[in-house]
């Protein structure tokens, strides 16, 4: 029952929420570290046209397997391609795949889960059994199975990433919907004359998104690992694509000659996955 805020220029509200978010993040060093890691990677991606000096696919037979030097910051691989440029391009690719497929999976999964949870009944039970089946498989195994059946290619990988993840979002959204459904604002929305579809989409769904959002951030890291792992074993993207998993696979073959062909893309994977996980934990604490 305190004095309500009367000055509310819209920009002020935005600044306050940014400032408050920073205040909370600042308290947790790990989350801050995660944030910096992701910001660093995004920075590389944004300024890639300036940093990428070599064509990632251009071979140079005279310069194969050279160690890091001023000419090639990260050295060259077995085809003479500049690893630094390939790493930056790989960052773009891996991040793109992870972000788009997880977001797509989350959106579609949330809607399916919300609708299923709202109506309940036999359709909901059926949907739950389907998600049970999907969740019974460890997602990596499931991904390998789908890719083996469809064949390794970019769009198949995108589809697979989308499918292996959707079940958890359906589950999470449905759970939240079942609890949100009992709130009085739903009854109030009915009294105000709203149609059922409007109640689900405009009233309930936005309120179900909190756990979905947390799940989303926690899944980015895992999506990167899936891409890298599948490519590493040959069921993901194909050479000569510049992708972290493929680069590790190449590097592994030449491990006796040097470690950096393997460890550099490896370090980037660690950076990305750790960054997303720390950030995701922080967001979960912020929101929860």
């Amino acid at each position: 029952m305190t004095v309500p805020e009367t000055k509310d220029h819209p920009l002020r509200k935005v600044w306050r929420s940014i400032d408050y978010t920073w205040y909370v993040l600042r308290k947790n060093n790990l989350t801050l570290a995660g944030l910096f890691m992701i910001v660093f990677l995004l920075f590389l991606v944004t300024f890639s046209p300036l940093i990428v000096t070599y064509d990632p696919y251009e071979t140079d037979a005279d310069n194969v397997l050279s160690p890091p030097s001023w000419k090639h910051l990260f050295g060259t691989d077995q085809w003479g391609r500049d690893i630094f440029s390939r790493t930056i391009v790989a960052t773009q690719l891996d991040l793109f795949i992870a972000l788009t497929t997880v977001l797509a999976s989350a959106s579609v999964g949330a809607i399916i889960g919300a609708v299923s949870g709202y109506f309940g009944g036999k359709a909901d039970l059926l949907m739950q059994r389907i998600t049970d089946i999907l969740l019974a498989f460890p997602s990596l195994i499931l991904a390998m199975g789908i890719m083996a059946a469809l064949g390794a290619s970019f769009w198949n990988l995108m589809l697979t990433q989308f499918l292996i993840r959707i079940a958890i979002f359906i589950r999470v959204a449905r759970g939240e919907m079942i609890s949100q459904k009992e709130n009085e604002y739903v009854e109030a929305a009915v009294c105000a004359g709203n149609s059922t579809s409007r109640i689900i989409m405009r009233h309930l769904l936005p309120n179900c998104m909190t756990p979905v959002a947390v799940m989303t951030t926690l899944n980015f890291g895992y999506a990167i690992l899936v891409t890298a792992t599948l490519s590493f074993i040959g069921l993901g993207l194909n050479p000569p694509t510049a992708e972290w998993g493929l680069m590790i696979s190449d590097g592994a073959s030449y491990l006796v000659l040097g470690a950096w062909w393997l460890s550099i893309p490896g370090a980037f994977i660690v950076l990305a996955v750790l960054g997303f996980n720390l950030l995701g934990d922080g967001i979960r604490d912020l929101v929860g």
Partner: protein, 324 residues
């Protein structure tokens, strides 16, 4: 004022250090509770009454902190006691019950066991002796079929019964002071009347004093011996219960009494205009000044009123009665 005081709270302040700044939730409050007395702490939400009870019990966690004051219980300042010694007092000599006690009881333990444990820990009794005492305490607080009920779990009790179990548990060691924070809020009015009767019996038969915190002016009127009225972190008036309701001095007390409808007659009620000031940047003067109908312009907002004793035992914090 009798020197035989059970609890003497002097200039207690508790601040909360949050993102927006410092919230001065309690600002130098003082009050005394005598033995065998039911002392009411009345106020609306945000007045600080719950924080006051938590401060006495040293249950304030960061970002909150008790910044000044003394809480003298039976001659000892509780705030200065080392943690170990204080733990021996809290739970044994000073007990507390809160709203919706069913959630304060361990859901996995039978209630008989929970009460018996208190006897084993604080009085060193054996298992069977403690259980006997537990059954006796349930009987004393009118819980029917006590021998059977010791085997029940908290969720098997209704809210009213659970509250009684909580009282039985907290009175097990015969505490000198029981702090009850909104013990009947959420209960039906008939159950509420029974619980309040139980409290009066505890005072009469066991000599326990009770600090009863409530927002319900009817509950305070019918149960308490003395009442303190809180507003925005200040205690604005303290008096014996009849005096407070018949001759309220502070404008806030007067306004509060004018805002409650009655069940025994038809009355006119009026609200209190304005808003409680934010505790982040509270006014330097009286915190009721922006809403007071009797405000003295130029004085009340700037200068904090002193607490004056008008009659024996009737204290008020207001410029209208001197103290500037």
């Amino acid at each position: 004022m009798s020197e035989n005081l059970l609890l003497n709270v002097t200039r207690l302040s508790t601040y909360f250090y949050v993102y927006e700044g410092i919230m001065r939730v309690l600002d130098e409050i003082s009050f005394q509770i005598r033995p065998r007395e039911i002392f009411g702490l009345v106020g609306e939400s945000g007045s600080g009454k719950t924080v006051a009870s938590l401060s006495i019990l040293r249950l304030i966690l960061p970002p909150g902190r008790i910044t000044s004051g003394e809480v003298i219980f039976e001659g000892t300042d509780l705030l200065k006691l080392p943690q170990k010694e204080f733990s021996r007092i809290r739970g044994k000599k000073i007990s507390m019950i809160f709203q919706q006690s069913r959630t304060a009881l361990n859901p996995f333990m039978k209630i008989g066991e929970q009460i018996a444990r208190i006897y084993r820990t604080h009085e060193g009794l054996s298992k069977s002796e403690a259980m006997e005492k537990a059954i006796y305490s349930l009987k004393r607080f009118r819980i029917p079929e006590a021998e059977k009920r010791v085997e029940s779990y908290p969720h098997e009790f209704s809210l009213g019964m659970a509250q009684r179990v909580m009282i039985a548990m907290m009175m097990a060691c015969n505490p000198r002071l029981l702090i009850a924070d909104e013990p009947t809020t959420g209960l039906d009015v008939t159950t509420q009347a029974q619980i309040l009767d139980l409290m009066k019996e505890a005072r009469d038969e066991m000599g326990t004093s009770i600090l009863l915190i409530t927002h319900d002016l009817g509950v305070a009127a019918q149960t308490c011996d003395r009442v303190a009225v809180m507003h925005a972190g200040h205690i604005v008036e303290i008096a014996d219960v009849e005096v407070l309701y018949e001759r309220p001095l502070h404008p806030y007390t007067q306004a509060l009494l004018r805002s409650i409808p009655r069940v025994d007659k038809k009355v006119r009620i009026s609200d209190i205009p304005g808003f409680v000031p934010s505790l982040l940047n509270p006014p330097r003067g009286c915190r009721f000044a922006n809403r007071c109908t009797k405000v003295i312009q130029g004085v009340c907002e700037k200068i904090k009123p002193k607490t004056i004793e008008i009659d024996r035992g009737h204290l008020v914090m207001c410029h209208l009665y001197g103290g500037s």
